[in-house]
Symmetry: none
Subunit: 192 residues, 4 copies
DNA sequence: CATGAATGAGATTTCATTCAT
DNA sequence: AATGAATGAAATCTCATTCAT
């Protein structure tokens, strides 16, 4: 048990170290040696948990995407009406991103990079099933535009990455009011 | 004269080689040796045109961003009404991205990566001045939401990167009708 | 334990390889690749022991200077009278240089080159403290000229480098009698 | 004529550029490109005057050594008595080194380096013929120790390099009194 | 005579990964 | 299970030299 816990801790430390390094200088600056040093293990130890650097990054992606999804849908109740549900999810996503800037920044960086395997990326998409279902329902009810969910995603969710980026670069700090404005824009874009 | 042309050609070939390599495997896989080989020059020759790898990538970014901006605003006429103008620009941007997939994909990849110098990134922003002016005008006329231009950008322009990505991965091919739908969504998001 | 010994052996082999290469063609001809090959390790292995080529050369300098100093002062006894002491040290120095030609030649080469960090050079000077003390004593006793120790060094010790050089180039082989003559000259230069 | 002069000027500029670069960072930092830039010519032009980098350095050595010798013996009159002559030469040498620090420093650096061809080094020795003759005469007169001129050189002339070095590194600034002290030491070392 | 452009070879250094212990 | 040592391969960049003009 204690042994298992130590193992988990090490894995976590390695993921965390990778996250921080990738955020600060891109994947190229996250060398296995640096990751190992920050996580306080030997480079060789990494390979007990991950098959390769690619695997390490992939697993990190899934890990972070999982946390993100969990946060996003934690308040979600299927009884709520569509707009309310969407708002809950959207706001929860924004909150997660503001509270976990490293994770958020990492996910943004993954979006358009060959950093992550296509396969793993697909895997990550599954976390959004609930959202897609919600949109389906909204479309049936005539509340949401009857267009590809990818479009809905592109215009209502994806922009958050850009906002986070601005916030990080201090170009447009995200206070509560900006968040609310942004939600309004998101909703206007997809509602009928 | 012929000499100058040869120089320009070589520079262009180098930029093109870099573009293609970065697109296919990220900045890390675009080694100077590979770039040189594809451009049919010696590695040393690269340094006649670019100070360093970082400089090469920065210049490529500005180059591509410049082409993009030029295409975006080529039809732009300040006499048009705001919505018409915005539509022209938006459609021109989409067209550019569809016709120059490599360039588009590269710009997306640059968005959230430490690949590009902050300074160079700022430089790249200048190309969008006209768009920001247009929004200003729209806000004054009460046609466009009175919010930060960054938000307007995030929800009406930035999503294109995601769409391009989908198209590239064959997840949502962009035909004319999808483009039109997407424009409608973009406009709904920022209009009052 | 065996591991530690192997480490030490490798470091030594690297230093030795560097010594030999620098002697034969100057610092520029002692490439890391050549050093590695001669020491029978991979180039990457060098960096387990030395931070950089500069560090490698600096450490070699200190190493050799240390050996030299140890040899020089091994017979030194503070009870001896000044001239006797000086003679012991001088002769020991000459003997070291004759028995360790590579080391001697390397030290000469370091003398007036930007090869070695100023800081490291200062560090190397410390090895001569005993000699400076001896001169101090001699000056107080009125036996040695009351001038800067740097001058004393320049005229009584530094010339050995030139002699070594001659010997190496077979221009003036150093037999015992020449050594004795030379010592006489050295002593005449600094004695009152 | 004007053409010839321009040629000579270029050669001089190249030598000067090399001198300065070698002094500041050793031979390795004097790249042909840098030399060319400082001398305001194209890299290719260097090869109109010098066969190779080695040749450039060799010629510089002979050039500087020549200037040094000329200065050293400019006051020399064969009628003077030996000590007077030696003093004149020694002081003239010191003066040259103080007034032409770059040249002096360069010569020091050449002393124990494989920087200069053995052949060229031999060539440089010829400049000292007069001095060797003077010593011959002194030995015959019983004024100077009857030992190899190499030894005489090592202890009375060679130390100047060390002094210059100290001066450059501000460890022992050479004023007139230090120079006079030093001459006394030099003379004591070789006189009977 | 003079050059700017071009380069192959090679410099230093880093990296992902392995393996004996 | 865990590691520190070791490395081959490759990365970025520099250099002495050449050659068409």
């Amino acid at each position: 048990m204690a042994q298992l816990q130590k193992s988990i801790d090490k894995r976590t430390a390695l993921l965390k170290a990778t996250l921080s390094l990738v955020n600060n200088g891109g994947i190229q600056s996250a060398s296995m040696a640096k990751v190992a040093k920050i996580a306080n293990v030997s480079p060789a130890t990494i390979y007990l948990f991950f098959e390769s650097k690619q695997d390490l990054v992939n697993q990190l992606y899934l890990d972070v995407k999982g946390s993100f999804a969990q946060a996003a849908f934690s308040q979600y109740e299927s009884d709520d009406e569509v707009k309310k549900s969407f708002e809950k999810v959207w706001i929860a996503m924004a909150a997660f991103k503001l509270e976990n800037k490293e994770e958020a920044s990492f996910l943004s960086q993954c979006d358009n990079t060959p950093m992550i395997d296509e396969e793993t990326r697909q895997e990550g998409l599954k976390y959004l099933t609930s959202l897609f279902d919600l949109w389906s329902k909204g479309i049936k009810e005539g509340i949401i535009k009857d267009i590809s969910p990818y479009l809905l995603y592109a215009f209502s969710i994806y922009p958050m990455a850009f906002l986070m980026n601005l916030d990080n670069r201090s170009l447009c700090p995200l206070g509560e009011n900006v968040i609310n404005e942004a939600f309004q824009v998101a909703w206007d874009s997809i509602r009928v």
